[in-house]
């Protein structure tokens, strides 16, 4: 429970971003509650007025029939019954009774009008309260989502390697919604219920302490029960969210990989997988439903038993004449204001359990330590020359066995082209990933112009590195937006120039909407070669000092490949470039070739040197590159 309170408290802290706005609903709630509390008192005064009037009529009738001789005997009895002073004469009594009879309708009408007045007040403030509560909670949800989004954007690659998109999405949507529901309705209801409860208890104890004592036993009993249920239900709710996340992950993968699913006619088995996840989710929901099948009726039963107790104690007092019917009616109306909040607390406990489970999941992300962050005192990386040094760099993925890089050392001079060569899985991609600090080395260090990468600000580092990877992801938006991806403020001229250099300008302008053609998820699907050229333009626009690229020209036809390759050559000129080399020309022109073998540097040098000195390179050359050449 304490941990639950902590996360909820932290979530509630978001409310105070809105300062006075956050307090508004509570003020309105107070006014609305007080107006509500006035109504039973008014009803009582009406009933008392009526009772008085009726009794006055009845007694007046009776008085007329009592023979004058018996009057002296009857009068004290009547006065006692009516609670009038014993000193009253019969004439005074008659006068008083007549006055009661006459004033009753006026009292009644006045009280009736007051009820209508308070009803209007109650309605107005209840609306204001509900509106502001909801508005505030939506604002909190907005903030939570923004925080989550920003955090997710900044979490390092290794975090994303381990967390699926579908699962993160549920936290940013459904979990936030659950927390919002509690902060918007639950918390307010909780405070409202407590205010109503306290105020009603005060009223009850001041009007009739004995009757009040007979009733309040239900409060501790109910609270203990709720606490119990709250503690039991939280882990159950947590499991619901987990299972919802699992479901969403399957969904997300199926949508992203729909073509593969269709191509392999895996629909049926994917459907089975989804059905299992949907069943699991349903089963867990039903487990919770079972719990609340007990809780809900119990809450009402307890409340109703409280009412029955009052009925008994109050009824007895009426019979003994120590309580008027009006007082009793007022009391039992106030009772509703005891039982209603108590029952409400029962539901708030549900929301609380749910919200606590969800808040925990949200803060798990917000508290996740990105293993790649700016360290305290990190400096802006100044405009670099492009001298890059790997010093005994080792690296292994989180949770992934053997090191993928093992004591890799080399130096790239400004403007050099470094070709990375090696078998699949030899560590080429890892070297590329370490340069922009997508990951940090497990051991050793990397420097740019003498600055350790970990001593400079991430943003200033990445701003100087251009990346063209083979897998090109474009985003929803226009082609222009996609080229300007890394430099949103770029002018049209800059963008056109970049597109021309990347040989993309012609095909872009062939579209009816030109640079404004929507692409990405919602728009036109570009072919692989077109995507790649947009990606090259994207990197060119940044005009980076350091370039990382994969020189393979995938998914293009023969003609396009030639165009792209000349664009790539242009791109590399004058920049320190790291190239995952697939082409003979790249390897031959490279200033340094780094031959990687199982995470180790097998050889470094120029083509001619390596060919003579290094066996592995000679082998790779003769078996792969030469082979390629012969084909050509």
């Amino acid at each position: 429970m304490t941990q639950q309170r902590n996360v909820i408290g932290r979530a509630a802290g978001y409310l105070f971003h809105y300062r006075w706005q956050a307090v508004l609903p509570y003020i309105f709630l107070l006014i609305a509650t007080l107006s509500q509390l006035a109504v039973p008192r008014l009803v009582r005064s009406i009933i008392d007025a009526v009772t008085k009037g009726v009794i006055a009529t009845t007694v007046l009738d009776a008085l007329n029939k009592i023979p004058a001789a018996f009057m002296s005997v009857a009068l004290p009895k009547i006065l006692t019954f009516l609670n009038y002073p014993a000193t009253m004469t019969s004439d005074q009594l008659v006068a008083q009774l007549n006055a009661d009879k006459v004033s009753a309708p006026d009292d009644l009408v006045r009280a009736g009008l007051f009820i209508v007045g308070f009803a209007a007040l109650r309605g107005l403030f209840a609306f204001l309260q509900a509106f502001w509560a909801e508005k505030n909670s939506q604002s909190v949800a907005y903030d939570l989502r923004n925080d989550l989004y920003a955090k997710i954007q900044r979490l390092s690659f290794s975090y994303h390697d381990q967390n699926q998109t579908g699962q993160l999405m549920i936290r940013a949507t459904d979990d936030v919604e659950k927390v919002r529901l509690f902060l918007g309705q639950g918390l307010l209801q909780l405070i409202g219920a407590l205010v109503l409860l306290t105020a009603t208890l005060i009223i009850l104890f001041t009007t009739n302490a004995q009757l009040a004592l007979a009733t309040i036993w239900i409060i501790p009993v109910a609270l203990i029960l709720f606490m119990l249920f709250g503690t039991i239900s939280q882990p159950l709710f947590n499991r619901v969210q987990q299972r919802l996340s699992a479901l969403n992950t399957i969904l997300q993968e199926n949508l992203a990989g729909i073509k593969v699913v269709k191509a392999f006619t895996r629909e049926k088995s994917e459907e089975v997988k989804f059905n299992v996840a949907a069943d699991n989710l349903m089963d867990q929901q039903i487990v919770i439903a079972r719990l609340f099948t007990f809780l809900m009726p119990l809450v009402f039963l307890i409340a109703n038993l409280g009412q029955a107790t009052t009925l008994y104690v109050g009824g007895k007092e009426i019979i003994l004449g120590t309580l008027t019917l009006g007082e009793w009616q007022e009391f039992s109306m106030y009772l509703i204001f005891i039982f209603f909040p108590v029952a409400q607390l029962g539901f708030i406990i549900t929301q609380f359990g749910q919200a606590a489970a969800s808040a925990t999941r949200i803060f798990e992300i917000l508290d996740a330590k990105s293993d790649v962050t700016d360290k305290a005192g990190a400096i802006e990386l100044p405009q670099v020359e492009g001298n890059i040094n790997f010093e005994d760099v080792s690296f292994r993925y989180v949770g992934g066995g053997a090191p993928v890089l093992d004591k890799v050392s080399f130096e790239a001079k400004p403007g050099q082209t470094i070709a990375l060569l090696g078998a699949t899985g030899s560590g080429k991609t890892s070297i590329i990933n370490l340069l922009p600090r997508f990951y940090d080395p497990t051991d050793g260090r990397i420097t740019i112009d003498g600055h350790d990468l970990r001593d400079v600000k991430l943003e200033s580092l990445r701003a100087q590195i251009g990346i063209v990877l083979q897998e090109t992801t474009l985003f929803s938006g226009s082609i222009r937006d996609n080229i300007a991806f890394g430099k949103p403020e770029a002018t049209d001229d800059e963008i056109f120039a970049a597109a021309k250099a990347a040989a993309a300008h012609d095909f872009i302008t062939s579209f009816p909407e030109g640079y404004e053609t929507p692409v990405g998820e919602r728009g036109t699907t570009l072919s692989g070669g077109q995507k790649q050229r947009v990606a090259i333009a994207r990197a060119l626009l940044l005009n980076p000092r350091i370039l990382i690229l994969d020189d393979s020209t995938s998914s293009v036809d023969l003609g396009t490949e030639a165009v792209i390759q000349s664009a790539l050559d242009k791109l590399m000129k004058g920049r320190t470039s790291f190239v995952i080399a697939q082409r003979i020309s790249t390897v031959m022109n490279a200033d340094q070739i780094i031959v990687l073998d199982k995470g180790k540097v097998a050889a470094i040098g120029k083509h001619a040197e390596l060919l003579e000195e290094n066996e592995i390179y000679a082998e790779i050359y003769s078996s792969q590159l030469l082979d390629d050449k012969q084909h050509a």
Binding site: T51, L108, V109, F125, I152, Q252, T424, S554, Q565
Partner: protein
């Protein structure tokens, strides 16, 4: 995805998003409840009985007052000589129908009077001679009866809740799986037009609104409505004019509710759409978070998300204006009704207990007060939950919106299973278009003999991808036909057709599952040995053996943690395991480093042997070895033949070849030096 500027979805369908009527949506939702009618029936029975218990209680409270507590009864407690007649007249004119000399009206009163008579319980006396002890005993009996009803009501309430939630959760599961299955049948083009995140939002968030409505709102609205009818009936039968007065505000309540819910539903539609956008934005940016970091785009993305997110917040705040106004309005009207009851009743009582010619007692007023309070309670409850229901309707509209999308490829009712094939593929005058009037293929004709390798060559957007998409029927032709072993692909079931075809796509999609499961993707029945054999064929086993858990290593989403080449190898192993007669390679060999590629080419040679293969090629080796090269330009086959024949023609292919390999020839010259 589709090559070329195909910016529209499938051939057959255009998106139909007609606004649905609320009653239609509710009707469809109700239909999903059909299979669970026993649970619903049980819930209805429970609700009826527990509602009866709920309404009976105020009646019993009123009776308690009239028989034992009212001032008239109390007045009979003091025996005034000669006043007894007045007192007794007062008591018997009350509504104490439990009294021996009174007839109960209605079923409820009859039942209770009979229960009360059980165990030799004395009926209350109304002749003015009731003693204090008798009154106390009566009080206790009545309260026990009330408690018994409470207990019964509580048990039934729990039972109702459970059966509704049970049915609701089942409906929810069915809806989710139905939408999921439907998503699989939609044309590939549908996904180019709709954001994955928005579709996801429909299955998770929108169904969640239905969940909210089902698990709480539906039961409460059902029992609330029943309660309303019941109370109204009770009030009307007990005292017609008084009842009509008490319910005078009800028409206003109905009008207010209808107005607000209409507004709320419109506002909720907007909120569901905005939530879809938020989800879409999340989906896109989370799955591409690596690019965002590489390009320092975090800040810009965050700013953009804030806008989408703010739109969602504003839409919700907008909707809340209506939902939060409804309940207080109704509550205020409820208090007005209360004022009318005590006011009118009290005045009538003071004027000789006569209201338009009907008798009014204090007990009746108290009963009616309880009625009106209980009358207002469900109205308020319904109004609060009404919000949930409106939101659920808006959510259901979006769910049915997907279900109403026509599946791209519908098996012909007479479609047969495609049996084992030889692999002869014929394109007869095939025309295909994504958008009406903009054909991507124009009258394409060719025949691939069993076992032949067909290389597709041509500029980007020429129609190569379209050709390979048509063979497994990802799309259907607009005109002409595609025959496999002489059978039109539209005459067999899509599933049996695709089982014969292996596909290696440009982007290798891996699932977050083990390596073993990823290879087994197309052949769930394959044994471990078969999987390993396929991996060996694709030369993937070497790197798999180096993974921490070997074949049991769980891959990250989309195979993160593996290099491009490794992913490609797995994709090839996957196709090898499926052992298809027809193979489609979409430039699959391109993203593997040269050494691996060479191995793959050897593997592919093995794989291609004896299978009819279509390769969207850019590697010379593949093209050279092809039995037939189809040169495609602008949706038409402009040249066809073997490599050497085409070179001799000195046409389009020759130019393509020269422009591409001139550079490589130069390098060859350098090496030769």
């Amino acid at each position: 995805m589709m090559g070329g500027p195909g910016r529209h979805s499938g051939f057959l369908n255009q998106e139909t998003s007609k606004p649905q009527s609320t009653s239609e949506t509710l009707g469809r939702l109700a239909k999903h409840f059909g299979p669970f009618w026993p649970a619903l029936l049980a819930a209805v029975v429970f609700v009826v009985i527990s509602t009866w218990a709920q309404v009976t209680n105020p009646e019993l409270t009123g009776e308690l007052v009239d028989c034992y507590l009212s001032p008239a009864v109390a007045a009979s407690g003091f025996n005034l000589p000669g006043a007894s007649s007045a007192a007794s007249q007062s008591a018997s004119s009350s509504n104490c129908w439990l009294a021996a000399d009174k007839q109960p009206t209605g079923i409820t009163q009859t039942i209770i009077k009979n229960v009360f008579a059980l165990g030799s319980l004395a009926a209350p006396k109304t002749d003015g001679t009731i003693t204090t002890d008798e009154r106390t005993a009566g009080l206790v009996r009545m309260i026990l009866l009330i408690i018994a009803l409470y207990v019964m009501g509580a048990i039934l309430m729990g039972a109702t809740f459970f059966s509704m939630t049970w049915a609701g959760q089942h409906v929810l599961r069915d809806l989710r799986t139905e939408v999921f299955e439907h998503l699989h049948r939609l044309p590939i083009g549908y996904y180019a037009e709709h954001e994955a995140g928005d579709l996801m939002s429909r299955i998770t968030n929108d169904t969640e609104t239905i969940n909210q409505a089902i698990s709480f709102a539906l039961v409460n609205v059902a029992s609330g409505s029943l309660l309303l009818v019941w109370i109204a009936y009770n009030m009307l039968t007990q005292n017609l004019p008084f009842a009509l007065l008490s319910m005078a505000v009800t028409p206003i309540m109905i009008i207010v509710t209808l107005y607000f819910s209409d507004q709320a539903r419109k506002a909720f539609r907007k909120t569901r759409t905005e939530m879809g956008s938020v989800n879409a934005s999340l989906q896109e940016s989370i799955s591409a978070v690596r690019e965002a970091q590489a390009f320092n785009r975090a800040e810009e993305n965050i700013d953009q998300f804030n806008i989408t997110n703010a739109a969602n917040r504003d839409a919700n705040v907008n909707a809340v204006v209506f939902t939060s106004a409804l309940s207080p309005a109704l509550e205020a009207l409820g208090y007005v009704a209360l004022a009318i009851v005590v006011g009118a009743g009290g005045l009538a009582l003071l004027n000789g207990a006569n209201l338009f010619g009907t008798a009014v007692s204090l007990g009746l007023i108290i009963t009616f007060l309880a009625y009106v309070q209980r009358f207002n309670q469900p109205i308020q409850q319904i109004s609060v939950l009404w919000g949930n229901i409106q939101s659920a309707i808006a959510g259901a509209e979006r769910i049915f919106g997907i279900l109403d999308e026509k599946p791209a490829i519908v098996d012909d009712p007479n479609a047969k299973e495609m049996t084992a094939i030889n692999g002869k593929v014929e394109f007869k005058n095939v025309t295909a278009e994504y958008k009406e009037g903009e054909p991507v293929l124009k009258g394409v004709n060719f025949t691939a003999q069993p076992g032949q390798t067909i290389a597709l060559v041509g500029p980007t957007g020429a129609g190569k991808t379209t050709i390979i998409n048509l063979i497994p029927r990802f799309y259907d032709v607009t005109a002409g036909s595609i025959l496999i072993d002489g059978t039109d692909v539209r005459d067999v079931t899509a599933e049996s057709l695709r089982k014969q075809i292996g596909v290696v796509l440009q982007d290798t999609f891996l699932f977050s599952a083990t390596v073993m499961e990823n290879i087994r993707f197309g052949q769930p029945g394959a044994s471990d040995e078969e999987v390993i054999a396929a991996a060996q064929l694709a030369h993937a086993d070497t790197f798999i053996e180096r993974l921490p858990e070997k074949y049991q290593t769980v891959l990250g989403e989309r195979g993160s943690g593996l290099s491009q080449g490794q992913r490609q190898l797995l994709s090839i192993a996957r196709a090898a395991l499926a052992d298809p007669r027809i193979l489609i390679l979409d430039e699959a060999t391109s993203s593997v480093d040269t050494r691996t590629e060479r191995l793959i080419q050897k593997a592919l040679e093995k794989l291609l042997k004896g299978r009819t293969s279509f390769v969207v090629a850019h590697r010379l080796s593949t093209i050279r070895n092809a039995d037939m090269i189809l040169v495609i330009n602008d949706g038409e086959i402009i040249e066809r033949g073997r490599h050497n024949e085409l070179l001799e023609e000195k046409g389009f292919y020759y130019n393509l070849y020269m422009s591409q390999f001139k550079k490589q020839e130069e390098i060859e010259a350098i090496i030769a030096m």
